[in-house]
């Protein structure tokens, strides 16, 4: 098993957290994980992209070049730049709360997820990233939802323990939404 994932968004949306959590969940499953990211010279704003490779074998190339199995687009500003990262036959999840017009691309499967709206309903708009991840787990099984939930506790640690509950809630809500919906 080897999966390549791209998480792209605007700085502050938590896309790097999505990538990190994916890696930690993979490690929960005793798999290997490699994550790289692009970053600007500025500390805030701009785009943020996390690239992830998870595998139950040793990971060779950590690079992603138009061969991602899953591509998560959380913000309209990065759609044009990163929709091409998905492999042919790959899955492109986009945050339809912000990406208003459906992205155009051949030979990929689109998943329209109103992540920001859903998170707002749960009471924490910033948990949109977790909602999207939960949904992705339900739709693709890239990592089990339980692995995401337990990795979340490790990622947040003691200092951010108070954030575990809302983020797990968003993960599970996203997962449930994905399960109920007809494919």
């Amino acid at each position: 098993m080897k999966k390549k994932l791209v998480f792209a968004g605007s700085g502050g949306q938590g896309v790097i957290s999505m990538a990190t959590l994916t890696c930690l969940a993979a490690i929960e499953c005793k798999w290997n994980a490699v994550m790289s990211q692009t970053y600007g010279i500025e500390q805030r704003g701009g785009t943020a992209v996390g690239f992830v490779v998870i595998s139950d074998e040793e990971i060779g190339s950590p690079m992603i070049e138009e061969d991602a199995d899953i591509c998560c687009l959380m913000h309209p500003m990065i759609v044009d730049a990163h929709i091409k990262d998905a492999a042919s036959g790959g899955i492109v999840l986009y945050n339809s709360s912000l990406v208003k017009s459906e992205p155009v691309r051949e030979s990929v499967e689109f998943l329209s997820v109103p992540a920001t709206d859903a998170a707002q309903e749960l009471g924490e708009r910033r948990a949109a990233n977790m909602f999207a991840l939960g949904r992705l787990s339900a739709e693709t099984g890239f990592v089990p939802i339980e692995a995401l939930c337990s990795a979340l506790e490790k990622m947040l640690g003691e200092k951010k323990k108070h954030l575990v509950e809302i983020n797990q809630k968003a993960l599970r809500a996203g997962y449930a939404g994905g399960c109920n919906e007809e494919k």
Binding site: M35, V49, P62, M63
Partner: protein, 356 residues
Amino acid sequence: MESNTLFMKNSEIFAEAMIRCGIRYHFAYPITPATDVMKYTAAHFHKVGGRMFQAESELAVINCLTGLAATGQLGCASTSGPGFDLMQEGIGFMTAAELPCILLDNMRVGPGDGDIIGSQQDYFMATRGGSHGDYYIPVYAPASGQEIVDLMPVAIDRAFTYRTPVLFVMDGVMAQMIETVDFTPAKETVSSYDTGEWSYTGAKDRGKRALITGSYAHSDGEQMVKKLMAKAEAMTAKEQLWEEYELEDAEVVVCAFGLPGRVCREIVQERRKQGEKIGFIRPITLFPFPEKVFAGLPGSVREILVVEMNYGQMVQDVRLAVNGRCNVSHYGHVGGDQPMIKAREVRNRLAALVPA
């Protein structure tokens, strides 16, 4: 630190490996993409009685390291391209003074201030040196977090054995990459090396020792350089490290170091499955350059494709190593967004070299 398997950024893995191997002093000046190392040591060195010292410039960094090394203790300095430029004077000095230390250069784009993401453009500066004079220092180019951990005790041993600065180079992408890593190989070894024979700890119960890299008689300079060259020769004979794959019947060999090495190995593996006779070499030591693997290449090899995140630096060493026995071509790319090395481009080059 109970667990041995962690998920960390490669720059942090470097710092944690230093701690676990017994290095207690780190000197640095903030510069992307090497700052993560000093952030980590600043937060963690004090727990083991160590110290991260932020100096006013890389000139001060390398010279603080010189002073520390003179006491017989092993320290480290980490930096990136423009800071590495400034350190060249001190690196040449420490080599002449036979002072051991560990150095890290997280390469960024240059010359000038350069972009902060990855490149491998410091190959020449790392292997040829930027100081005046004849000198070589061991250079390690790990391709993964695990290899950083595996190489740290080796580098420490070479630093003490040859009494020389030892350099690690990573590109900026590799430096920022986060990986699973097993720290089991990182054993405390620093304290097992006795430096009492040469360190400058005060003239107690012995005659004075003076560290002099200049000459007071013209023969001094000659003797010093001869000694350094003898060390370089010994390192060339004994310390070459590389990874190789499927060379026995290869017609084309891809050669790359560091992160591009990982990208290329996967491509070569995938071509082999197609039945193409392609082999792979990844130099792990850049000095000494692994000439032995090139000397031992089978006669079937007619072309070597060197892939680097620069416009042709290591390719010169490959050409020297094969000395005209086969063609050597180069694919290089620097800067822009990830991926730095386009796998598609490597595949195209290979398709041209190995017609289906």
